[in-house]
């Protein structure tokens, strides 16, 4: 009998093996995970509709989802127009936040002197409610798009700065020594190690930054603008058109989720290496506001 013949599998009639069963369960679980958010949203709307109907809640207190949908249909053009405005405002402010946040984060992360000097200032600045800054911006730039862009920028650069600085400042001392003993200049170390290392932190911060950027531009629009979804909601509420206010809120939420999803996609594409071997965990993020 040949020595290398593979042994016959022990015949069983117990159906699938344990490994197969586990794989099947895992697949079912993943499918459920993908559908769960949609099921929950749908469920929430159904319960909401039922509650409004059962208790006869007047429309100007809590409109039913069907009323909100009707209002969206009726006001589709102003909603679209103003959402577009808000989206643009947010993205421009966000773009500035990325450029400025990266630069300042690299500077603070690579120089302990700058870190000591600027960090308390940044914390102080981040603690100031941005809604209090908007009137000042209006005095400087007048009512319109500019204060909204600046507010989106001001509110969203902080998480980027903190995360990039953390990524760069926490390069392992041994690795730094290896490079310095090779005659590497500080710029070499930042380029070869600091920046790539900071990327997962940076992309993690983008998810936070983009959502708070929306908050920033909408705050500014509600206080001092004649355009944008925030302005539209203020107008609607002054006319007691509560369904339209809710329509605005829901559209804002959708925009936030979509931008967040895009940031996650970019993060996965660019810094997959940071997640390997530790799936499910994510890099620490800090929240600014």
């Amino acid at each position: 009998m040949p020595r290398d013949a593979t042994p016959e599998p022990i015949p069983t009639n117990r159906g699938p093996t344990r490994a197969e069963a586990m794989a099947l369960a895992a697949r079912r679980r993943r499918r459920l995970q993908a559908w769960l958010p949609w099921i929950i949203i749908l469920g929430t709307f159904l319960i909401w509709e039922a509650v409004v109907f059962a208790f006869q809640i007047p429309q100007f207190i809590l409109p039913a989802p069907s009323d909100i949908a009707a209002s969206m249909y009726k006001w589709w053009w102003p909603l679209l127009d103003n959402s577009w405005q808000t989206l643009m405002t947010t993205l421009i402010g966000f773009a500035f936040a990325i450029a400025f946040g990266l630069a300042l984060g690299v500077a603070i992360g690579s120089s302990s002197l700058l870190y000591a000097g600027l960090y308390p200032l940044l914390i102080a600045f981040n603690s100031v409610p941005k809604v209090a800054v908007v009137p000042i911006l209006v005095i400087w730039f007048g009512i319109g798009t500019v204060p909204a862009v600046i507010t989106a920028f001001l509110i969203s650069f902080f998480p980027i700065v903190v995360n990039v600085a953390t990524g760069i400042a926490t390069v392992e001392p041994e690795l730094r020594d290896v490079l310095r003993a090779l005659g590497a200049k500080p710029t070499d170390i930042i380029r070869k190690v600091g920046l790539p290392r900071a990327m997962p932190y940076f992309f993690a911060s983008l998810k936070i930054a983009i959502t708070v950027a929306f908050v920033g531009s909408i705050i500014a629009e509600t206080v001092a603008s004649n355009k944008g979804i925030g302005h539209l909601m203020i107008l609607a509420s002054s006319r007691f058109d509560v369904p339209l206010v809710f329509a605005g809120l829901i559209i804002t939420g959708i925009m936030g989720v979509v931008m967040y999803a895009i940031a996650v996609k970019i993060e996965d594409r660019t810094t997959g290496w940071a997640m390997r071997g530790q799936e499910g965990q994510s890099v620490a993020t800090s929240i600014g506001g």
């Binding site: 041994e174 290896v178 090779l182 005659g183 070499d188 070869k192 790539p196 290496w273 390997r276």
Partner: protein, 272 residues
């Protein structure tokens, strides 16, 4: 007589101001060109500190270090270093990790682009020498600790450093992996002939690898004993069990015990 490649003269190092920890005091030693020297000593005696001073990574409090006839007053420009942790870059493949020094050290830095193929082949050769053939395109997380440490050694050697500094490079490995790596390091050093300073607290490792073993006192560290290791190369694992090897181990062990006792009484008298 030819001048030693590394000269350390009456070096003292105190961390953190006048009241800080005195890590080294009156520490002197020399290392010849192409020599393999091991420094052993109890933990916390200032071995890592010595490495930082020789490579110019930290300014010393007192004394002089001369490397290749030049006073060290800034980081050296092409020393290879490896530590207990492999510190590979997780976003680079093993090959790219090994080639990192070539992107930093002149003249390789200038030539890397035009002679990529040559450098690439060199890195692969080095990896093959330590048994990492076939892992060039893998990422660090796909390798075991011992394999990562092998790659880290290759990174320290890729640019043909005249000086190789190893700070307990095998400290985190199991005994079998460690012994494999001794043999591989021996082969690599016989081929490339760098000057090596190895810091370790493993006496067998020191005697197996080095031409000369230096014993350091407990803090503040200085050299209190020195033994030549006369055994011919290449040495094999069998050599460890020979009586002369064991006798040398025994002798060194005595010195370390003395150093630790002296350190203990010193601390006790400070406490009193």
């Amino acid at each position: 007589m030819e001048r030693p490649f590394v000269e350390i003269m009456d070096v003292a190092m105190r961390y953190g101001g006048v009241e800080g920890t005195l890590a080294l005091k009156d520490c002197s030693l020399t290392v010849g060109k192409g020599e393999f020297v091991a420094v052993v000593g109890p933990s916390g005696c200032g071995k890592s500190t010595l490495m930082r001073l020789v490579t110019g990574l930290w300014p010393m409090t007192q004394g002089n270090v001369i490397v290749a006839g030049q006073e060290v007053d800034r980081p050296l420009s092409s020393a290879g270093m490896a530590f207990q942790a492999p510190t590979l870059l997780p976003w680079r493949t093993i090959l790219a990790n090994v080639m990192l020094p070539l992107e930093v050290v002149e003249p390789h830095r200038r030539r890397l682009r035009s002679e990529r193929a040559m450098y690439d082949a060199k890195a692969r050769r080095l990896l093959a020498m330590v048994g990492l053939k076939g892992f060039e395109e893998k990422f660090p997380y796909q390798l075991s600790g011992g394999m990562q440490q092998r790659a880290s050694l290759c990174r320290a050697l890729i640019h043909d450093p005249a000086l190789l500094m190893l700070d307990e490079p095998f400290g985190a490995l199991d005994i079998f992996t460690r012994e494999d790596l001794w043999l591989e390091l021996q082969t690599v050093c016989q081929t490339l002939k760098p000057t090596v300073i190895l810091v370790t607290h493993d006496l067998r490792e020191a005697v197996f690898l080095a031409d000369r073993v230096l014993v350091m006192s407990s803090r503040p560290g200085r050299i209190i004993a020195e033994r030549k290791v006369p055994f011919p190369r290449p040495r094999t694992m069998e050599d460890i069990y020979k009586p002369e090897f064991q006798a040398l181990l025994h002798d060194l062990r005595e010195h370390i015990s003395d150093a630790r006792r002296a350190g203990a009484t010193l601390e006790a008298s400070h406490a009193a």
